[in-house]
């Protein structure tokens, strides 16, 4: 890949999605765009990038950003956050909000839905009463294509093999041809919409539980600070923010305090 082409792609992706692609990542850009080029019938990555550079931002630019967005995900990813949900976070929330019986959850990087549905399965299995409350679960993502997939709730065999225990597969999924479809009843509990974390956010309610796991790692420091500040303003007292295992608010936003449930580190507003 030429230096000029790489610079064009990394600049555009950074502007649109705040994803940082350092020099050295040319191989990754090329491998991802190679797939896109073939799919869109371009003879090469070079010809694809040339077309992108010569035209104003359009659907193909969107596809380029989508191709560069890492969508690695699995059911019950990392395991211990879901144990923390089950053992500590949700029981505490049920007590804290027992009088008003209203909770709002937000998954800010829903991708193809595995995290959202893992949370719903945890709730259905262990705290089904929560679903009888005024319960909102908002799931957003930058990438329209994966969001559509999340909404459809259909997964191939490799995807259900990733982290989904067999008993939950049988209980919550129905085989549809060669795919597996997540429970329509539980899917209906989720409000899916597009949201780009680095642009203006649409209106979100005040939040009791925020999942933003393994997303901030892709952004620079200033972007992280901006996002965390926005979340802080939305989080209710006692509300919990869950980040990825390698992520922290330390050094980025002093408005959070760190709490640990066994192996899971969470954040909530400082009193």
């Amino acid at each position: 890949m030429t230096v000029v082409d790489f610079d064009y792609v990394r600049t555009f992706v950074r502007q649109q999605a705040a994803i940082v692609l350092e020099p050295g990542k040319e191989y990754l850009v090329e491998s991802r765009l190679q797939t896109l080029a073939r799919k869109e019938n371009f003879p090469s990555v070079e010809s694809l990038v040339q077309q992108l550079r010569q035209s104003p931002p359009n659907g193909m630019h969107r596809k380029m950003v989508d191709a560069m967005t890492t969508n690695e995900t699995s059911f019950f990813r990392d395991l211990h956050p879901f144990a923390a949900l089950r053992q500590s976070i949700l029981p505490e929330l049920l007590v804290r909000r027992a009088k008003e019986r209203q909770v709002n959850f937000w998954c800010g990087a829903a991708s193809s839905g595995q995290e959202v549905y893992s949370v719903l399965m945890t709730i259905q299995e262990h705290f089904p009463e929560l679903l009888n409350w005024n319960f909102r679960f908002i799931a957003t993502d930058l990438c329209a294509a994966v969001l559509a997939r999340a909404q459809a709730g259909r997964y191939n065999q490799l995807e259900v093999n990733r982290g989904l225990p067999a008993n939950l597969l049988v209980k919550y999924f129905t085989a549809k041809g060669v795919e597996w479809e997540f429970s329509p009843e539980l899917r209906r509990r989720v409000e899916f919409s597009e949201l780009n974390l680095i642009k203006d956010w649409p209106s979100l309610p005040s939040l009791d539980l925020v999942f933003l796991r393994n997303v901030l790692i892709y952004f620079d420091v200033e972007t992280k600070k901006t996002i965390l500040a926005k979340i802080r303003r939305l989080l209710r007292p006692g509300g919990i923010l869950l980040l990825g295992g390698a992520e922290t608010t330390l050094g980025l936003d002093e408005g959070f305090e760190r709490i640990v449930f066994d192996k899971t580190t969470c954040y909530r507003l400082k009193p």
Binding site: Y27, L158, N161, V178
Partner: protein, 281 residues
Amino acid sequence: MVDLNTLIKQANELPAFPASAVRLAELVSRGDCDVQEVAELISFDPALTVKLLRIANSAASASEQRIGTAKEAVLRMGIEQVFALVIACGAKPFLQGAVPGYDLKDGALWRHSVAAAVAAEAVAPFCEQEIPPEGFTAALLHDVGKLLMNRFLSAEILGYIHRAEEVEHCGRLEAEALILGVHHGELGGLIAQHWKLPERVILGITYHHNPVPGMDPICEFTYLANHIAKQIEAGLDHKDSVLVPSVEVLRRLGLNLDALDKFYPIAACRYHAVSRRYNSV
């Protein structure tokens, strides 16, 4: 990235694993099979019966009576050994060819698979953690995913994978996942599902490089068997940090590095003694 649906389709189009081997794996997984049941199962597969009798008679001494039936073979050799041979018979046709995407020449993948299976047999008694009976099968088949992955490893893709390993300082598995969206452990699990092998075999194969998410001792066990096999193949004097198994995995199996150091020569001897048996299937 590779199209996952294409991968799944190709996995499901692979020839089936021999029905008798699948059925026997199921029986062993249940833990309650007896000689009669095993012998009957083998008898229904004439080709398998012939192979088993040949191996049983070649192992018998001159003074022992020739073995003429599947039941006699099971009685003489024991269910465990017969099971191992039946699985090996089923696996060898798949594993004996070259796998150029992994620089494996003819027979190399098979030899490595046998080394892992022998390591699994040898190390199981030393583990404080109870090892499930599916351990041998998972160890023998742990790299079967490479067969399918190989179809997608063009020179271009291999170039990206090697570059990812260099730039990200990661192993081959992580590099495969980064470039293709899937790694060979997952593909192996997919193949094992297609073959209708027991659930624990599928888990052991899928998670043989990164056992923690598998949440089953068979994953740690298969991981260890793979490491021991690599050390045996590299030579016991060959020191490479990549070949040292994770201390945490050893702890969960009830082993430690000191115990393992004493165990390696035993495993190597056993490999050289019994590998001929599996190579003759």
